[in-house]
Amino acid sequence: MMVLLLIIAFDELKTDYKNPIDQCNTLNPTVEKVKKIKRVKIALKLVLPEYLIHFFFCVMFFCAAEWLTLCLNLPLLAYHVWRYMSRPVMSCPGLYDPTTIMNADILAFCQKEGWCKLAFYLLSFFYYLYGMIYVLVSS
């Protein structure tokens, strides 16, 4: 079960960080535009699954009575809830507003957030791995 967890978690973090900045100097504005819009859309689509999966983990940890792990994850869960509550006015689920995502401050914040989460997920991945091996060995 742990393995499954970590695979998904890993997948999650991979998808979590995506840079919507188009650094390349594409010659053709259309290509660029399409890319851009796709990226924003991807960003919009990925946020919610990530939150849901994380929430699911937390529930699983709760069920498995993994209190320590749960404690480690609770702050992030709380952050997710807060983040989603304070998202911009939107009719559809999502977090990022395509009109403001290009604002340097917001973009920098999102990137930083992505890196932090990446680090957190990576650490928890090894922690889960360690836990899994420990369980396997001890059983």
Binding site: I21, D22, N25, L27, N28, P29, T30, E32, K33, K36, I37, P88, V89, M90, S91, P98, T99, M102, N103, A104, D105
Partner: protein, 1201 residues
């Protein structure tokens, strides 16, 4: 895009003049021979100010003694100026020639008419300046001298006569800038040395090496002037008035000729539009300005200023346009040469004229360009002009705090000390590094002196007269004359810091925002249009070739943004202007920083779209009540042929209440067919090809429809409004082509998608706590706008609502689709004629203004700089790319920048904005603007180059963002903190003064006033009852209005009209445009016996005091006396009196070059409309906001924390 594989070398490079249709609309003023009004207006009228100078609110306090009134009289000022100028010069130079006993000056100044033209000087100017040059041991500079002579000449004849070897000192116009011509013209190539050494030579004599040292002396000497000279000046006034005019006329012709010659040689610049009123006429496109300087009689200060502006404009802005329309560019090759000569001269001029000393406005062109000794003057200005006012006016009793102020002012010595002290430190550093820079560049002229004025520390608590006599000009970047002359016009492209700090650390230290203010699609009078097969661009960063690239040799050029070396394509070797081969640097692209390319098919994603206009009209009961439909239809009928477009132009109409009505206008029908779609939950288009029709083919049907439309719905009882579905229908209708959707809405949308609820709580309107609901209630409009943007549809919104209509939500439809927003609160066609008139004027402009479709704008900047945030109406598609479905000439953009890497390895920073759009004629065009600015590594240089207006506008934009994302009070705090930060940063880093008080660099001395005005704007104010919609609209305006318009809205210009004199007047064509002085926005500046004009950008208020002279009321307003002025008067009758003509000439001049014509409201002193007038007096305390003085005290408190 222009891919390298382009092998078509068949260089059919045609270079044509594009006169922009809108821009060309107003050519009324030609530079005809000057006709002055000298005799038409009795001298007493001009000079003899009405005896009662009571400041407005103070009923009892200020019956001023006569002598003190002098400040208003121009003659007094000019008299004073002479003295001060000369003394300054002397002190600066410490040169024997210049040493003329002060007494000599003072005496003649009052007795001799200030302006005796000196015709010979005109042509043979050099002597004076030469003398000077020689002293400076710069023999090579002799040539430029002639230029100076000519220039300075206008200003300074009197001294010339008396002191032939003096470089003329400017004659004084009231408070207008002086140009102490201390000329150190830079030799064209190696200017830095010249200036450098010249400045050193100044310091050599051991007088406090800084130019600032001068003021000290000056004060001591000139101090008597105000008191003594004022009275004489007053009495002498008539003569001095006559002098200028008579003589002026004599010399005018001559000068005029000369000047216009010059003018026609130099390319016209739209940079000067503000000054010239009509520049577009074909014969003399350079527009009035150059010659205006000529016409204005020499003694007049203003003339001088304009002269300079003109010239510097011509030199700096020649970039933008090319020769007179009459002289096609192909022929301008000669002009080119001449032009260059001129530029050298101009270059010299700039460095020599220097000084903006004259102008207390550090931001005027001259002050920034040139260089020297500037700071000495302004104090003199202040003193001579303004010391007296302090004494006489005092502060109104309403603000007791002020009362202490005047004391220190009248005894102005403290401030003098200030200047002199502070000056010493500042000026040592810039020299070396600037010269380094310039040496490295080979082009930068180190003209450090100019910064002296901009850096002069101003103690805000003591200096009260901060406003320049004329509206502020953009500061000129400290560049070499060569670069300056080609640099982009400040009206198009402006940077908050005209000297870019080298590192982000330095920028942070300065506590000023770095950003650009762009007005890219502005109406230009002339614009070089280039048709070329290959558009030369950098291969790595895609920058368009521009005047600031360097040609390494004939075949290679180095990009100025990324420093890549590129090849010059063969085609580019041929110069269509000179018809010569092998001169790539003479190509128009390299000669102009604003050019327009006709783009090839590489720049198209699809065939250029036709112009397509869809009008979405609200016809619910509410709309019928408001009655806008009739006026809309009438205006559209009138302007149907003026809609920009070609034979492919398509139009469509759509009306809605609770259902949506389409109109089939298919050619061949006998009359328009109305198709009603009542299913608003799932909108569909009833017929696809007949709703958007070709305007040309179906014109009769369109006219039919427009005539019958108002009657059709006159009986409508339907109160609901299905705006959302109507917009969806419009989107579907327009998707295939893209184009412009114009929406008229009169109430809150209540049906279907996008329905909104009223969110405003009227009781909270004047709450001092946060304001809620500044953001959208739903993202329906935003999403729809993004869809529209994707399909190249721009949505413009006209909201004519008397009730709350949730503009915060509705505006999203325009914000993200690059549209524009118009709001007419309480619109009613009978009850609110003012709004109706504004609506009509706006609509007329709206129908006829240029439009660009399917546009994108990319902003590139030198490596190391990056774009932080955009402000305006658009969708940001990438970090540097804006998607603009429509682009219109009235909207502007702001860009915040940050410095990512140190710019140490370059001495110039460049910005390029490229706007790719489809014109209404179906041509794909690229308009490219390039701005070049110096990079500096000293904090003092950063401050010297700060553009206070641009900073204010950028901060306003940031504050709006903050108030939406965070809260209004946050935004207000941030603005106040901006001032606090600036003052403390300046105090700790630049000025080493250990003194109390609020000290800011002179370049930023208006900053606190502007910030205070911002805080009192509808958008940001608290405590005053403000409807939510109006607040939101004001915020939208902040985001989209061009800088000048915005500044007039934020800080209106106040003039006194009843005692306008011809002194310093502009002579345009055969009209005399008087130039009254700007007044501070405070009730103390008003007086009951005056008439004051307030220019708020979109509206003028003419305030008539209770005791206003009957002559003025009769001659200008056509009413026998004050009591008979009608309460809602909103026009100035065309009377044949000289006074009326003058007032109207001034008004027309102000109106000129404004996109939307402004209305004028006559406000009587006792009328209830008074409140609207007085709310603009931002320096006074209002019911909920502090006065300027209190604001300063607040800042001081914050600092000491």
């Amino acid at each position: 895009m222009s891919s390298p594989g382009f092998t078509n070398l068949n260089s059919s490079v045609s270079y044509s003049q594009n006169s922009t249709p809108n821009g060309g609309a107003a050519p009324p003023f030609q530079n005809g021979p000057a006709q002055t009004y000298q005799s038409m207006y009795p001298p007493t009228g001009c000079y003899g100010a009405p005896p009662q100078q009571q400041s407005y609110p103070t009923i009892p306090a200020h019956s001023t003694p006569a002598p003190h009134k002098a400040p208003i009289t121009n003659s007094a000022h000019s008299a004073n100026y002479y003295q001060s100028n000369h003394q300054q010069q002397q002190h600066h130079h410490q040169l024997p020639q210049h040493h003329v006993a002060p007494s000599q000056y003072s005496a003649p100044s009052s007795s001799v008419p200030p302006s005796q033209p000196h015709p010979t000087l005109h042509s043979s100017v050099p002597p004076p300046s030469n003398a000077q040059y020689n002293q400076q041991q710069h023999p090579p500079y002799a040539t430029p001298g002639s230029y100076y002579g000519q220039q300075s000449y206008h200003s300074q004849q009197q001294q010339q006569q008396q002191q032939p070897n003096l470089v003329p000192a400017p004659a004084g116009g009231p408070g207008a800038p002086l140009y102490p011509i201390v000329s150190y013209p830079s030799a064209p190539g190696s200017s830095q040395y010249g200036t450098l050494s010249s400045s050193q030579s100044t310091s050599a004599p051991g007088v406090p090496p800084t130019q600032m040292g001068a003021p000290l002396h000056q004060y001591s000497t000139s101090r008597p002037a105000p008191t003594t000279a004022v009275q004489p000046g007053y009495s002498v006034a008539p003569t001095s008035q006559l002098g200028p005019t008579v003589n002026g006329q004599g010399s005018t012709v001559h000068q005029h000729y000369d000047q216009s010659h010059q003018a026609s040689l130099s390319y016209d610049s739209y940079g000067r539009v503000t000054h010239s009123s009509g520049g577009a006429d074909a014969d003399r496109p350079p527009s009035g300005t150059p010659s205006t300087s000529v016409h204005s009689s020499p003694g007049h200060h203003q003339g001088v200023q304009y002269g300079y502006v003109a010239n510097s404009g011509a030199s700096s802005a020649s970039a933008t346009t090319s020769g007179p329309a009459a002289a096609p560019l192909s022929s301008s090759s000669e002009d080119d040469d001449d032009d260059e000569e001129e530029d050298e001269e101009a270059g010299g001029d700039t460095s020599s004229s220097s000084t903006g000393s004259a102008s207390p406005v550090p931001n005027s062109y001259d002050s920034l360009e040139g260089g020297n000794y500037p700071d000495s003057m302004p104090p003199s200005n202040d003193m001579t002009n303004q010391a007296a006012p302090y004494g006489s006016y005092g502060y109104p009793s309403m603000e007791p705090a002020y009362q202490q102020g005047p004391a220190s002012h009248t005894d102005s010595s403290p401030s003098h000390d200030l200047y002199s002290q502070s000056s010493y430190q500042q000026y040592s550093q810039p020299f070396p590094n600037l010269s380094q820079l310039s040496a490295a560049l080979g082009g930068l002229s180190g003209v450090p002196e100019l910064e002296v004025e901009a850096l002069r520390p101003v103690n805000l608590l003591q200096e009260r007269n901060l406003l320049p006599p004329r509206p502020l000009e953009a500061p000129e970047p400290n560049l070499s004359p060569d670069l300056k002359k080609v640099n982009c016009s400040p009206h198009t492209f402006r940077c908050t810091l005209t000297s870019i700090p080298q590192t982000q650390a330095l920028l942070n230290k300065a506590r000023l925002p770095l950003g650009l203010l762009l007005h890219p699609f502005r109406d230009l009078q002339q614009l070089p249009v280039i048709t070329s097969n290959t558009i030369v661009r950098c291969r790595s960063c895609r920058t368009y070739i521009n005047p600031f690239v360097t040609f390494l040799d004939q075949r290679r050029w180095k990009c100025n943004l990324c420093y890549r070396v590129n090849d010059v394509p063969d085609e580019f070797m041929y110069n269509p202007v000179t018809r010569s081969y092998g001169e790539p640097h003479k190509r128009p692209e390299v000669q102009n920083s604003t050019v327009e390319f006709i783009a090839s098919s590489d720049y198209m994603l699809r065939p250029p779209q036709p112009a397509a206009y869809l009008f979405v009209l609200d016809v619910s009961h509410n709309a019928v009540e408001a009655g806008y439909l009739k006026y809309f239809c009438e205006l559209l009928l009138d302007n149907l042929d003026k809609l920009p477009g070609d034979t492919r132009t398509r139009v469509g109409f759509l009306t809605f209440d609770n259902t949506i009505h389409f109109y089939n206008l298919q050619e061949g029908l006998s009359q328009p067919q109305m198709l009603v779609v009542s299913d608003i939950d799932d909108v569909f288009i009833p017929s696809h090809d007949s709703l958007m029709v070709n305007l040309k083919e179906s014109k009769e049907l369109v006219k039919d429809l427009l005539t019958s439309l108002p009657a059709m719905f006159s009986q409508s009882r339907e109160t609901h409004s299905a705006l959302g579905p109507a917009l969806q229908a419009a989107f579907k209708l327009m998707s295939p082509t893209g184009g412009r959707v114009t929406v008229f809405q009169t109430q809150l949308p209540t049906l279907g998608a996008g329905a909104l609820q009223s969110r405003e709580d009227p009781n909270q309107r004047s709450s001092t706590k946060g304001v809620q609901h500044l953001g959208p209630a739903t993202d329906f409009y935003k999403k729809l706008a993004l869809d529209c943007s994707g399909q190249q549809i721009g949505v413009d919104l006209f909201l004519l609502s008397s009730q709350y209509a949730d503009l915060a939500s509705l505006s999203c439809i325009s914000k993200y689709s690059a549209g524009s927003i118009f709001y007419y609160p309480s619109f009613h066609y009978i009850h609110n004629p003012a709004q109706l008139e504004k609506f009509q004027r706006d609509l007329e402009r709206y129908f006829t203004r240029k439009i660009g479709f399917e546009a994108v704008m990319r902003i590139r900047c030198t490596k190391g700089l990056s774009i932080h945030t955009f402000h305006g109406n658009f969708f940001v598609r990438s970090t540097d790319l804006l998607s603009l479905a429509n682009v219109n000439p009235d909207s502007a953009f702001a860009v915040q920048m940050s410095i990512e890497d140190s710019l140490a390895d370059s001495s110039l920073a460049c910005f390029q904005a490229a706007l790719l759009y489809t014109s209404s004629k179906g041509k794909r065009r690229i308009r490219v603007h390039t701005l070049c600015l110096p990079v500096v590594n000293q904090l003092s240089d950063v401050y010297a180059g700060a553009d206070v207006q641009a900073v204010t506008c950028l901060l306003a934009n940031m504050a709006i963002d903050r108030s939406i994302s965070s809260s209004l009070s946050d935004a207000r705090d941030a603005l106040v903190n901006a001032v606090v930060d600036l003052v403390s940063a300046y105090k700790s880093n630049v000025s080493n003064l250990q003194q109390s008080g609020l000290v800011v660099p002179a370049a930023m001395r208006l900053f606190p006033v502007y910030i205070l005005s911002l805080l009192k704007q509808k958008a940001l104010r608290t405590g005053t009852s403000t409807r939510l919609d109006e607040r939101v609209f004001a915020m939208c305006e902040f985001k989209t209005q061009p800088l000048q318009q915005l500044m007039r809205m934020v800080h209106p210009d106040l003039y006194r009209l009843d005692n306008m004199s011809d002194q310093g007047a502009l002579h345009l064509n055969d009209t005399v445009v008087p130039q009254p002085h700007l007044l501070h926005l405070s009730a103390e500046r008003l007086s009951r016996d005056g008439a004051f004009l307030m220019d708020c950008g979109y509206v003028f208020y003419l305030w008539i005091g209770k005791c206003c002279s009957e002559v003025f009321i009769r001659d200008v307003l056509g009413c026998p006396n004050y009591a008979s002025i009608p309460p809602n008067m909103s026009h100035i009758p065309e009377l044949e009196t000289p006074l009326s003509e003058r007032v109207r000439a001034f008004l027309d001049w102000l109106q000129d070059n404004r996109a939307f014509s402004s209305m004028i409201h006559i406000v009587k002193d006792d009328a209830s409309a008074k409140a609207t007038f007085f709310q603009h007096l931002v320096e006074d305390r209002s019911e909920s906001a502090s006065s300027y003085y209190e604001f300063l005290q607040h800042i001081q408190q914050q600092m000491s924390k």
